[in-house]
Structures are given as structure tokens and as C-alpha cells.
Subunit: 147 residues, 2 copies
Amino acid sequence: MKLGRLNHIGVATPSIAKSIAHYRDTMGATVITEPFDLPEQGVKVCFVDTPTASGMNGTQIELIEPYNESSPINGFLAKNPAGGQHHLCFEVEDIDAARAHFEGLGKRILGPTRIGAHGTPIFFLHPKDMMGQLTEIMETPKVDGGH
Amino acid sequence: MKLGRLNHIGVATPSIAKSIAHYRDTMGATVITEPFDLPEQGVKVCFVDTPTASGMNGTQIELIEPYNESSPINGFLAKNPAGGQHHLCFEVEDIDAARAHFEGLGKRILGPTRIGAHGTPIFFLHPKDMMGQLTEIMETPKVDGGH
């Protein structure tokens, strides 16, 4: 498997509204998407765009707020009430090949492959098998006209 | 202040050698710099390059191992023995203007502005003032010929 683009950094927050204000007013972000719910994943999310030398297609910050009482990020927020860095998400060209790669290495995969916040298939790997990093693997979106 | 490029994600590790093997063999990274010591900062670091659509200038992963017993990341590793995500680093055009911006907002800055791993001035902001995220601010390197 070849390392793909670092698509986003997941940041858990007790308040997506406060985190948006933080990135806008304190950090100077200019492009932040509207929050939307992912009920099946138990989270509300939005994305903060970051610039590159050539545009605004840098690695995004994904802000993640619990959607309900059974949200998978409630445990993280119980330990980190102010929020904080939660996971890293790398792109791959072929999600099935990537899953087979990690399974072949004996890495624990957390649940089935499912559709993630960008509308492409994703899965998560157990942080204890990934040097302490909760790692999301995401199939690269097929964008018409790409960049 | 305007949000700059997400330069790197700092990842603490008990063993930079094991983390390099992880990023090379498990994650498929192809460009990883040689580790080097930053004794004044109490850390040994190296960088994993990630791709963008147009090349290898994506947000980097900075692997950070303690340099000695007084390393500032020893506390983090005591709580997270396997390692994990430690900080986010954003670029700014003018480090002095950025420092004045954050000071004006009442954000706690951790120590003086100093030279960081990329050879440009940096400072860190207290995670309790930054929605739980230890945040490094770094002046953009002036690269001849750019990219």
C-alpha cells in the first residue's frame, strides 16, 4: 500500500459552534463548511479548509461534536473535556485493497467499511495497533475535473 | 491573522525507529527524513512526507521522541505510552505579528519565540486556550524558487 494524501485531522469538540468561532476568529480560517449530522456515526461534523501554496485544497480540520448520548466520541470528551486531536485520516486509491493490506498485517479494524463524511468508503484502525494513533482510511473522492 | 498552511502534525512516540517502520511498512510512506536531535527542545524528530494531488508537499507528520529525561514530551508519553497525536502546526507569514495577535486575544504562549525544526521561528500556544489543541505557530520558510 502506498501512503495517500493526509485528507484531514479529526478534532473532537464539546461545541462545534465554539470550535468554528475559534478557527474563524482566533486562527483566521476563511473557509469553513456548514455543520451536518452523520447520525449512523453518532457525530455532527464540519470541515475547516487550510491553504496550500497553490490554493485551498490543503489537509482539512474535521470538527466533530457528539450527535447523541451513544456517540463514539463521548468517551474521548469525558477524558478531554475541552476537546482535542482525535484521529488522522489518510486517503487510499482502493478501500478494499487497503482493508486487505491492514488485515494481512493483523491490524484490528473497527467495524465494517462504511460511507464517511466525504461520501466515500472509510474504515478506522485501532490506535493500539497504530502507534497510538486512531487512523481513518478513506477512498479518495473521484472528483470530475479534479485538481 | 489569516490561517496559513497546516505545516505538520506532531506525533509523539516512545521509539522514533518503530514509528518510522510503522509509517514505511504499515502506511506505505516513501519519503521519511533522517531523525535529528533538537537538544534545546529536548526532542529527537524526523518528518514523514505526504502527497498532494501535485507532488509530495502535503502536510507532514513530525515524529517526536524524547531526547532526555527532561523532555517536554515525557509527560505526554507517561499518559499515552504507545504515543499519539501531540500538536498541530500552522504556518504564518510574520511570526511577530502572529504573537501579537494571540497575545491580544489573551492566549497563553508557552515560552519565547525560538527556532524550530524547520529552521524558522516558532512558538506554542497553551492547549487550554486553544480548544484542547496544543498549537504550534511557525513562520513560513522562505524557499528559493518556491513550489
